[in-house]
């Protein structure tokens, strides 16, 4: 990745369109890099949320089963 100083650009006779295109490419590059980082974190966060919801469900199920067994023993 090169960011040319203005004098070098002039010397190479780079047009305004080339500069705009290069700026656009740079911006797109950073935009997609941020998407990549967000996705990497998001996958892990979603997995943690899934585990947390399963944990709650399992605890509820154990509590319900224990309560049911205690009730049956009392009868």
């Amino acid at each position: 990745m090169h960011v040319f100083p203005p004098i070098v650009l002039l010397a190479q006779a780079v047009s305004q369109d080339d500069i705009i295109r290069e700026m656009g490419r740079l911006q797109r590059n950073y935009q997609f890099l941020s998407y990549g980082l967000i996705v990497a974190w998001l996958v892990l966060v979603v997995y943690v949320l899934m585990m947390a919801s399963r944990e709650r469900r399992l605890k509820r199920e154990i509590a319900n089963l224990k309560a049911m067994l205690e009730e049956r023993q009392r009868k």
């Binding site: 797109r28 990497a40 997995y47």
Partner: protein
């Protein structure tokens, strides 16, 4: 105590990863690829962690078949699920990189395809487990599937060395590529953090497997009444 260690380990891993995002943002872009190249600092550690999970799952499955100890089955399922999440992250970050560099979201390249097949195989492992009720039968069949799925792991690793692929060649332990020392350290720290996260997730998942076994025992008790 166990929970405290897990929280501590998880927090440390997140802090390392967050700090490294800041460090990575200050690095210059790679000469040909530009800033999108920096995705490698997450893409590769995600892949290494996922494939390590596959290896541990295979070892645990073999141990289950030999010793018939359900703790190994619990370890295999826990580590497989965690590895699947990491591999999903690896595939998605790779796809985002490919969109910029190759101009497409996906290419049926050997590396990409073998990684996708790996994800599908481990997803099938989890689906098979849901389909079988009887614990011994479920654990035995799942162990066989896990060992079979592991065949793909070395294919994923070696595909860029053995085949001509679009995927960039190896930059570590290779004569074709090189990585500056300070960049390697960032990569190493990210890898350590991912391993720590993987270990924390696996420990939590193992606890859930214990809870699952407790539920099955309570159900049997309820039926006996």
């Amino acid at each position: 105590m166990r929970n405290k260690i897990l929280y501590l380990l998880g927090t440390a891993a997140i802090l390392i990863l967050a700090r490294n995002i800041y460090v990575i943002s200050g690095l210059p872009g790679e000469e040909d690829q530009g800033a999108i190249f920096k995705i490698i600092f997450f893409h590769v550690p995600l892949a290494i962690t996922a494939l390590t999970c596959g290896t541990v799952a295979c070892a645990a499955s073999i141990l289950f078949l030999v010793k018939k100890d359900f703790r190994y089955d619990a370890l295999a399922v826990s580590v497989t699920e965690v590895g699947l999440a990491f591999l999903a992250g690896n595939l998605l970050t790779g796809s985002i990189w490919a969109r910029i560099i190759w101009g497409v979201w996906w290419a049926w390249d050997v590396r990409l395809t073998s990684a996708l097949v790996c994800w599908i195989l481990y997803a099938s492992y989890l689906m098979i487990r849901r389909a079988i009720e009887e614990p011994t039968q479920r654990a035995t069949l799942a162990a066989v599937v896990s060992i079979f799925a592991f065949i793909d792991v070395p294919i994923v690793i070696l595909s860029i060395r053995l085949f001509r692929t679009q995927h960039p060649g190896p930059v570590f332990f290779s004569s074709t590529g090189s990585f500056p020392h300070d960049w390697s350290m960032i990569m190493l720290w990210n890898l350590i953090a991912m391993f720590m996260l993987g270990a924390v997730f696996t420990m939590i998942r193992l606890g859930q497997e214990e809870a699952h076994r407790e539920i099955e025992a309570l159900r049997r008790e309820a039926h006996a009444f």
